[in-house]
């Protein structure tokens, strides 16, 4: 998939899924699959989800743009009840994340491994703000901050449209993905259907291998 270069834009503008920047972005339909039961981290979760469908969102449409400074993903999928704010104990918020390798060897299927991190940009529908997360293996994820990643979701007519964005490069010693226009990176997406009790490792994801994202080079004239 391509992350199309767009003219320099305000982050606030990019967070609007209808912004002009997205018009030329195209996008791709991605098939999602449920995370395997055997990879769920605790015996309790495995027992509770044995025989239950994991990954209720089967398809997500993804587009990406960058303006040389910020990379933004737009995810869209069907969700019957997305407009409802969870208020009881058995109700969970919908969510979505983009995951990127912090180093090229990091495995996506296990959310990284010790010493080879992955970097997740995580949005949740309960107004929590977006999280900037690194993980070095299943269950090891740690929130770095809730400022750098921005996310905004709008639910309408049975469909979520969510934009998740972050600066391409961030000055930090943390093992995050540092991105460069004109290069390629792996990426993956995950979607949680909170109405089906999906949370944590119970989710739909783009699969055990990295997908490819080609970041357009910044055209000479605009440098």
């Amino acid at each position: 998939m391509r992350a199309h270069h767009v003219p320099s834009a305000e982050l606030e503008v990019l967070l609007d899924p209808d912004a002009t920047a997205w018009k030329s972005a195209g996008g791709e339909e991605l098939k999602l699959e449920g995370t395997p039961l055997g990879m769920q981290l605790t015996a309790h979760i495995r027992a509770a989800w044995a025989g239950r469908k994991i990954g209720s969102v089967e398809q997500v449409s993804v587009a990406a743009v960058h303006d040389g400074q910020v990379l933004a993903f737009r995810l869209e999928w069907s969700a019957a009840n997305g407009g409802v704010e969870p208020s009881d104990n058995h109700e969970f918020p919908d969510g979505a994340a983009v995951v990127l390798p912090s180093s090229p060897e990091a495995p996506i299927i296990t959310m990284g491994a010790p010493g080879v991190a992955v970097n997740a940009w995580y949005w949740r529908a309960d107004g929590e703000g977006a999280r900037h997360v690194v993980a070095e293996g299943l269950g090891s994820s740690r929130t770095l901050d809730v400022e750098l990643v921005r996310g905004r979701g709008a639910w309408k007519d049975g469909r979520w449209r969510v934009v998740i964005a972050r600066a391409l490069r961030v000055d930090t010693p943390e093992p995050i993905a540092q991105l460069e226009p004109g290069t390629e990176t792996g990426f993956g997406v995950a979607v949680w259907d909170g109405t089906q009790g999906e949370r944590a490792g119970i989710k739909a994801f783009s699969g055990p291998l990295w997908l490819e994202l080609q970041l357009d080079a910044v055209p000479e004239t605009t440098r």
């Binding site: 309790h44 009881d88 104990n89 269950g139 949370r199 944590a200």
Partner: protein, 333 residues
């Protein structure tokens, strides 16, 4: 902790002591880390014993998430109207909005059985700070810890992401979800007090002298004596497999009456099967032991067990955690 069910008067002082100390912040209004219910009854949350969780044959058993209504919502009352609206004579205190159909200890004092042999007793409950905590083992974020030094089971709210697997897994349904903070919360066994040698608020405030505190392996303390030496206190629902660290001295009921109104010692007033369903088969041994120790004291002999349970000296109930909290300057961090 050991709780002597023969002495609990259902006054809820423990419940309120806990509430005032720990669950007054936002999102905690429906939380009662300590509950006291009339038994037999549906309990708090409603029908929690049918919600699964814990372990069966050593394997994790799936559980249900109790709803806020199952716990009982924190009702809002018309205080304004009654106390400040000048209508004190015509309006009575009532719940605002929808008529509630459940709350903590909703079935208070209903009990079971037929007059004149009706029966009930009170069952106070907190988190059991289990040795095999289902909550801890269910959490994929390792956000729950059982402290090495004192066995207290605590949720780290910085690691918790509100997934509530702990709430599903705890067979005692002693985890509450805070919808404002979006984290799970539970009884902390008053660890800031314990660290200072002060017994839990529920225990210190109890007018019935129901609650004993201390380390299980302290042979000078009341817990070891009641649980291990005398084997007079048992965990609730041991079959849930979590190995609780709260133990109960089971209730001995007054004798039954027969049709003529005479005392009938042939059958117990609280059916044995019911107590066995709560505390396991060993409960019958405990009841027999208590009866024989009571008979001893009636005959003028000494019984260490009865002396312990009577708790002549209040401070002896606290296994060394008997410091007066008023002697400490507490700082809220």
């Amino acid at each position: 902790m050991v709780m002597d069910l023969n002495k609990c008067i259902g006054c809820q002082t423990c419940t309120i002591a806990c509430k005032r100390l720990w669950t007054r912040d936002e999102g905690m209004d429906y939380q009662w880390w300590n509950t006291v219910n009339t038994m037999p009854g549906r309990g708090t949350p409603r029908d929690w014993e049918q919600m699964g969780g814990g372990f069966q044959d050593g394997k994790a058993r799936p559980g249900k998430l109790p709803s806020r209504r199952d716990f009982g919502e924190a009702w809002e009352f018309n205080h304004e109207e009654v106390f400040h609206g000048g209508k004190g004579d015509s309006v009575h205190l009532q719940v605002k909005g929808e008529e509630p159909d459940w709350g903590p200890n909703w079935d208070e004092d209903q009990g079971a059985g037929e007059y004149p042999n009706a029966y009930y007793f009170y069952l106070p409950r907190i988190c059991n700070h289990c040795t095999h905590p289902a909550c801890l083992e269910a959490c994929p974020r390792k956000a729950i810890e059982k402290r090495q030094e004192d066995g207290v089971v605590l949720i780290n709210e910085d690691r918790c992401r509100g997934y509530r697997f702990c709430m599903e897994a705890c067979p005692y349904k002693k985890i509450y979800f805070n919808h404002a903070e979006k984290v799970s919360q539970k009884c902390i066994f008053c660890f800031p007090r314990i660290e200072q040698g002060v017994a839990n608020a529920c225990a210190r405030q109890c007018p019935g002298r129901v609650r004993f505190v201390g380390y299980r392996d302290d042979e000078e303390g009341p817990i070891w004596k009641l649980v291990d030496k005398w084997k007079a206190a048992l965990p609730l629902h041991p079959e849930y497999g979590t190995d609780p660290n709260v133990f109960y001295v089971p209730p001995l009921a007054p004798p039954r009456f027969d049709e003529k109104g005479d005392v009938d010692e042939s059958k117990p007033r609280i059916p044995d099967e019911y107590l066995v369903s709560l505390f396991g088969p060993k409960v019958l041994d405990v009841l027999a032991l208590m009866k024989s120790e009571m008979a001893k004291t009636r005959a003028g002999e000494k019984s260490e067990l009865m002396d312990l349970l009577i708790a002549y000296r209040w401070k002896d109930m606290f296994g060394g955690f008997d410091r007066d909290p008023a002697t400490i300057e507490w700082v809220k961090s």
